[in-house]
Amino acid sequence: MQWKLEKRPEPSRTMVYAAPVLAVLLTAIVGAAIFTAIGYNGVGAVREIFVTPILNPLKWQDLGIKAAPLVLIAVGLAIGYRANVWNIGAEGQYILGGLAATAVALSTRDLAGPWILPLMAIAGVAGGMAWAVVPAALKTRLKVSEILTSLMLTYVAIQLLNYLVLGPWRDPMGFGFPQTPLFTADQVLPIVVPRTIVHLGVPIALVVALIAWFVMARSLFGFQIRVVGAAPQAARYGGFSANKTIWLALMVSGGLAGLAGMLEVAGTFQRMVPGFPTNYGFTAIIVAFLGRLNPLGIIFAGFAMSVAVVGGEVAQTTIGLPNAAVGIFQSMMLFFLLASDVLVRYRFRRVGAQPAGSAA
């Protein structure tokens, strides 16, 4: 007797919600067991990583700050992935968004007014889009894989950042350290929840995700994206241009990554530094899939990812769990989440009691 995976006639609604819970539970049990076995406080690690960040109100602001850029980038990527456009260079677009916003900030240092931040935001979006123009143009004109071009440009973006902060943008008053001057008060995002560090970027990310959900579910644009992704042939007959969709998808994902870059540099960094790339662009790819490419799901996935990161730091400070062990916990959670996805689309059925032929 054995078990066999069988495709469900349609995705299970129960499993959409039950699978992630199951995955986190499995991570907790297996993780606690393994880490206890190799000599760490396994139960404590699970508690600090998965429970403390949720129960401790002091950590909520950190969850919001960490989740906002992830959600913003992942929403853009998800729209592209729905259309089969595989932008994995969001990190580069995020950097360019931050750089473009910084360029505005540096040239408006002597000015004041509420118009500066919106201008920085526009520059950020434009910067992210500009970095996505290359993959889009090469994909539509020459059919060059956007996976590789977007990834390659990420490394170029990092070098561009290094060049600017070590060279022309270096703060003359900063003792020669590679960083720009601090942004002025008009170039920094306002705090929206008093007495916390929650800046304007957090609600912006939420609103963008909700708008994206509405657009994807209700509008013609969303329909077009889904059709092009699911059935390119049908889309052509329906009069949707594949090239136009590729351009749209890359501009939206590049623009949102650029916006995330602007919000990070103006919200948390408040100046440009070499440490600006923090892998948000790559982590957001995982977030997009954990959220099943659905903007609402992505909000939860971004939150879950932040819990694991913030909890990892708590575990380091409270029970001295090494940073490396935290990485193992995080990847284990991702593995289980990705594996549990199968339950949404498939179910297990017992075979063997009946002739093998009829099981197919």
């Binding site: 490396a324 990847s331 593995f335 990705l338 996805d341």
Partner: protein, 309 residues
């Protein structure tokens, strides 16, 4: 420039290129079977720490390489199970594998930092490598010869063997291959296992060939370069060889230019460092210009196998 200097540069370039070449050869076979495994960097780190730990403990680098291959293969099976048996998304699973490999290698490696091993030197008697030109032939680490043999072996396997034909069929049209009676999942499992083993060996090059120590995250992003290289080479083993050495040359030439004092200093260091990536994009463009829109990519790359039944 003297011959001596030229040969010195070539030997350094070959060393720098070898781990990238080995990892990329593995990934090439994986991608030819229609699977995209972005976890190369993570598997390389697992191979690096395993290779170091075993060599340090037993003093036998051959055993170190074998165990690195096995560890890389074992970690690739996590990826294979999730993506092939459970149809999880390949891009996300590959990225998660890299996070896992980074965490695992630093946890496991904590016991081995601050400890040196003897570098894995030439297998030929030193008398053979006295002359600079002879050194160019006989003066390398066994890992370098292994990488060159594997280029030919992968080429032969993919173009001349029956098994290679099946593997390519699975990558080009999994449904047809399935209907003729080949096990698509089985072939892909084997390909991913091979890719994992090669990534593990590539990782072991870091402590055994390049710098005989263990340091956290010592592969420093070269797994991603290997991924780029596969596309750069349009999935062809010999072009992969040329590409890997070209990448190594660009990376190393920068160091030699700076070390020679002044020459090339008119180019910002950052531009030098961007060159390999810009070159990849350029080559991608040139390939598609010449081939009029056909990039030679396996048709099923990255798509899960979904038989209708």
């Amino acid at each position: 420039m003297t011959t001596e200097m030229l040969i010195a540069i070539i030997i350094t370039v070959i060393g720098a290129s070898t781990p990238i070449l080995i990892a990329a050869l593995g990934e090439l076979v994986v991608e030819k079977s229609g699977v995209l495994n972005l976890g190369v960097e993570g598997m390389m780190l697992i191979g690096a720490v395993t290779g170091f730990a075993v060599t340090f403990t037993t003093g036998n680098p051959w055993l170190g390489i074998a165990c690195a291959a096995f560890a890389g293969m074992a970690s690739s099976m996590i990826f294979a199970f999730l993506t092939l048996s459970l149809s999880a998304n390949q891009v996300a699973t590959g990225l998660a594998l890299t996070i896992f490999g980074t965490g695992y290698s630093s946890l496991f490696g904590q016991a081995f930092t601050g400890r040196p091993i003897t570098p894995f030197r030439s297998i030929f008697p030193p008398e053979l490598a006295t002359d600079p030109v002879l050194r160019l032939i006989f003066g390398h680490s066994p890992l370098v010869y292994f990488s060159l043999i594997m280029v030919v072996a992968v080429w032969w396997f993919l173009t001349r063997s029956r098994a290679g034909l099946i593997l390519r069929a699975v990558g080009e049209n999994d449904l047809s291959a399935h209907s003729i009676g080949y096990s698509v999942i089985g072939v892909r499992y084997a390909a991913v296992a091979f890719g994992g083993a090669m990534a593990g060996i590539a990782g072991s090059c870091f402590p055994l060939l390049l710098t005989p120590q263990w340091a956290e995250r010592m592969t420093a992003g070269r797994g991603w370069i290997a991924l780029a290289l596969v596309v750069f080479a349009a999935w062809r083993p010999f072009r992969l060889l040329a590409g890997a050495y070209l990448f190594g040359l660009v990376m190393t030439l920068e160091l030699y230019a700076k070390a020679s004092g002044g020459a090339f200093s008119f180019l910002p260091a950052e531009l030098w460092a961007s060159l390999p990536y810009l070159a990849t994009i350029l080559v991608l463009v040139l390939i598609s210009l010449r081939r009029a829109g056909h990039s030679n990519a396996p048709a099923c790359l990255g798509k899960p196998f979904m038989p209708a039944s």
